[in-house]
Subunit: 190 residues, 2 copies
């Protein structure tokens, strides 16, 4: 049970978003720009960074939903998501993304952990200033979203298919209008 009275049947962050639309609006906009806005990092790469940070923060709802969004962007490849969470240096992703995931992991622990050597490695692998900026901010932002979801003790379903549907919607439709809960959740609560 959540720590405060949230609208029922809405999983993870959707409950507090419905509870407080004034803060949901900028939080949704930030996710949309960072994860789906114009960028030289693909949406799949950005969702992998979000998933990795959420995994490091042990946030079940965020790592599972954004992991599903990443897999959807990557042609349904769920193995790559698992590989990144387990050991990204050994995962089948680009050297540039590995360097950016290193930075994201440092930010997850605290901003001051990022070193000039981390930045130099990312540049060497071709990362631009904007890509480094967005990686830092995706990691920082998910330190917020993860704490929001878990700090309020929100509820989440444990149903892989439901998360696959949710991830596909997040990937295809984005973060601005996705207020309605997944159909299956509504059915489960009806």
């Amino acid at each position: 049970m959540a720590h405060i009275k949230l609208p029922e049947g809405l999983p993870g962050i959707i409950g507090p978003f419905a509870f407080r639309p004034e803060t949901a609006k900028p939080m949704r906009e930030l996710a949309e720009v960072l994860l789906r806005g114009p960028s030289t990092l693909s949406p799949g790469e950005r969702e992998l960074i979000a998933t990795y940070v959420s995994s490091r923060n042990d946030c079940y709802f965020c790592q599972t939903s954004h992991g599903a969004a990443a897999a959807h962007h990557l042609g349904g490849n769920e193995q790559i998501v698992l590989a990144v969470k387990e050991d990204f240096e050994a995962a089948p992703v680009s050297a540039k993304l590995k360097a950016l995931l290193t930075i994201a992991g440092k930010v997850q622990q605290g901003g001051k952990n990022v070193t000039p050597a981390d930045i130099a490695r990312a540049r060497r692998e071709g990362a631009t200033d904007l890509e480094i900026h967005d990686t830092v901010l995706i990691a920082a932002a998910f330190c917020m979203y993860n704490r929001y979801v878990d700090g309020l003790g929100t509820w989440a379903p444990h149903d892989a298919d439901l998360f696959r549907q949710m991830g596909a919607r997040m990937a295809d439709e984005g973060y601005i209008r996705a207020d309605a809960p997944p159909a299956k959740t509504e059915t489960a609560k009806a």
Copy 2:
């Protein structure tokens, strides 16, 4: 020197905000709603929560600027800000704010650290669901802002008077339009 090339002479978060206006917009809006929007928590109380979390995250720019904003809201009382950072349980603030600061400190370490006992204490001291929600989100959001500022290695002045001016502007004018750097910084760079 910052890890990426940011516009010069802009302290702390102002540099990356100018570098990436697309993400600055929702981040500014979120701060405005949380810290200055309609609430039964006073702006001074909310800035104290932001300052406390930033202090726990060891973010010099955020704890100093928001500490100055808190002091400005509280009639120039800088002692209360120092007392909250040092030991809020012994600080001259309400029992309700102490309970909310306890929750904020738990969120800073990770959302799952918040316990039903923490929530029960806050309710006992009169906190509403919305106040608990906003406390969790202020703490979570400053875990983002702090990591953004430090993860990019931004520059910050060490000048108490400049921060007093900045804090007064943040308190009086808010977070939406505050794009220009403090006058003193511009002079120092000219």
